[in-house]
């Protein structure tokens, strides 16, 4: 069954075919988004994230491969009425916020009555209701970013494609943005979120893909990525700290990690000295650890 956004063996090269400076931005990239999920799209600068998003929106054509957005080939204008897009470093026309939203909404074929209602609604969602009549040229970058998000939401889209939506926001606005995205997701919207802010992705995304040098190096459920099957954390009582290197004492408990291959041996040592094993769990990593590990591997290969 096709996903809401599908890339099938997409390759994108920049530069003339005969040029020596030809750069491969995406290399045999395949990915499928499922309806209703929040999908995190990660990668270092220049990994090809924005290129992948621009291909889906039809801003450029793949050098090879193909893709589908809501069941239509990339670049289909009518399909774009069902999506919302926020570009990185959003550039807006210098008009009052409410008028600007109505302009973008009308381009998606929305009727004036619904537009008036929706523009009020989304401005309230991004907490700019009081600024509706102010020209966006006079807004701070964070406020412009919120207007950018509002224009992406104006048409009540099925799929939200957000390229670095929190890059210009202060911590409070980031929390508000996170809440807003979760609320949109609860309302049934699929969200494709490209971001450098790994903590944000870790908090809200159901699945994550990591892109490095144009190649997809990891894709999976966020929970699965964060749990390591290579190392285990053991919590014990009644065992001296000296016998396990790197262990720490927490009250009357001893906490330490061991590689999966040495887990059985560690447990037997605790029991041998009369200790008690309280818990054994896979080590939980942060997304940053996973990201650095994977992109670091990419550098070495």
């Amino acid at each position: 069954m096709p996903g809401i956004l599908d890339y099938t063996h997409v390759t994108k090269d920049y530069g003339k075919p005969w040029s020596r400076q030809r750069v491969r931005a995406l290399d045999d990239f395949s990915l499928s988004l499922e309806r209703g999920e929040i999908f995190g799209f990660l990668g270092p600068n220049g990994a090809g994230k924005t290129t992948a998003i621009h291909l889906a929106l039809g801003f450029m054509r793949p050098s090879s491969g193909a893709g589908q957005l809501l069941g239509s080939p990339f670049g289909d204008a009518k399909t774009r009425a069902r999506i919302g897009f926020l570009a990185e470093n959003v550039a807006l026309y210098h008009r009052p916020a409410a008028k600007l939203l109505r302009f973008y909404g009308a381009l998606n074929g929305m009727r004036p009555a619904r537009l008036r209602m929706r523009s009020r609604e989304v401005l309230r969602q991004v907490e700019l209701e009081r600024e509706a009549d102010r020209n966006v040229a006079k807004f701070s970058r964070g406020m412009q970013q919120r207007v950018g998000l509002a224009q992406a939401l104006i048409n009540d889209p099925e799929l939200l494609i957000l390229d670095e939506p929190t890059s210009a926001l202060d911590p409070l606005a980031r929390v508000a943005m996170r809440e807003l995205l979760l609320e949109a997701n609860r309302a049934g919207k699929t969200i494709f979120l490209s971001s450098h802010l790994l903590s944000e992705i870790e908090l809200i995304c159901h699945r994550v893909a990591i892109l490095h040098r144009g190649r997809l190096i990891k894709v999976g459920r966020t929970e699965d990525l964060l749990v390591s099957r290579d190392r285990y954390e053991i919590v014990a009582r009644g065992a001296p700290a000296e016998i396990f290197a790197g262990s720490r004492i927490e009250g009357d408990r001893l906490v330490f990690t061991v590689p999966a291959s040495r887990q059985r041996d560690a447990l037997q040592r605790i029991w041998a000295i009369g200790g008690e094993v309280l818990s054994v769990n896979p080590v939980r990593r942060t997304l940053e650890d996973v990201f650095l590990e994977l992109t670091g591997k990419g550098d070495n290969s």
Binding site: R61, R80, L92, A106, G109
Partner: protein, 236 residues
């Protein structure tokens, strides 16, 4: 069609200051030609005014159309615009509509000024309104050719190529003798420069109709090229 109209209106809004400045320029040059209402304008000055405005309107249309895509790409505003349910053909149509609207207002304003000048110097003004329609056709073909070149060249080169393209029959006798009547823009340009208040000047409606059809052809060519363009790649 509605999205194209909306984008056209927005485009006009974005370019309102240069447009208003140029409207002011027409009024100022008309006033100067009419010696600010104090004397009777000389016929040769009025002819020069009409010819100058005709060429100027076409040039301005070419400049405006040539810079449109580049300006939007440079500011990156095109990304949000084309992320909506707008095809690239509709987008180019919007630019054409906007540029032609400016040219129409410009042509009407210069025709009104010319009528005022001819009335002051007791000259027959019959040819001025047909001339205005020819200028509108000239502005349309200038805009469409410039827009076509701007889909793959920077605005300066696109404008230069447009001017060079219109002048090809003037430089190549073979084309001038055999195909000048159908060369896009050239017969209109020749007619603008031939304008006078003598009875021998008659508007070339065939050239105007040909310009309308050729504008459609160049719009199609522009769409074909622009559809293959990576618009997200930053321009300098």
């Amino acid at each position: 069609m509605i999205p194209s109209l909306l984008i056209a209106v927005n485009f006009l809004r974005q370019h309102r200051w240069p447009v208003i400045l140029l409207f002011g320029y027409i009024l100022l040059t008309a006033a100067a030609t009419g010696e600010f209402g104090r004397g009777r304008p000389v016929p040769v000055d009025i002819v020069f005014f009409v010819e100058q405005q005709a060429i100027f309107i076409c040039l301005f249309s070419a400049f405006l159309a040539a810079d449109a895509i580049h300006g939007e790409r440079k500011s990156r505003r095109i990304l949000l615009l084309l992320s909506k349910a707008i095809s690239r053909a509709e987008y180019l149509l919007a630019i054409m509509l906007a540029v032609w609207t400016v040219a129409m207002i410009y042509a009407i304003l210069s025709a009104v000024c010319s009528v005022w000048l001819t009335a002051r110097s007791m000259l027959p003004g019959d040819g001025l309104w047909p001339m205005m329609f020819l200028v509108m056709a000239g502005a349309l073909i200038a805009a469409s050719v410039a827009m076509f070149f701007s889909t793959f060249l920077n605005p300066y080169l696109a404008t230069a190529c447009t001017l060079a393209f219109f002048c090809v029959p003037a430089a190549l006798p073979a084309i001038r003798h055999h195909g000048a009547a159908w060369w896009p823009g050239y017969p209109l340009l020749a007619q603008f420069l031939d304008f006078g208040f003598r009875s021998g000047w008659t508007p070339n409606w065939v050239a105007a109709m040909a310009a309308l059809v050729e504008s459609g052809v160049f719009w199609c060519l522009a769409v074909a090229v622009f559809n293959r363009k990576d618009i997200a790649v930053p321009v300098e």
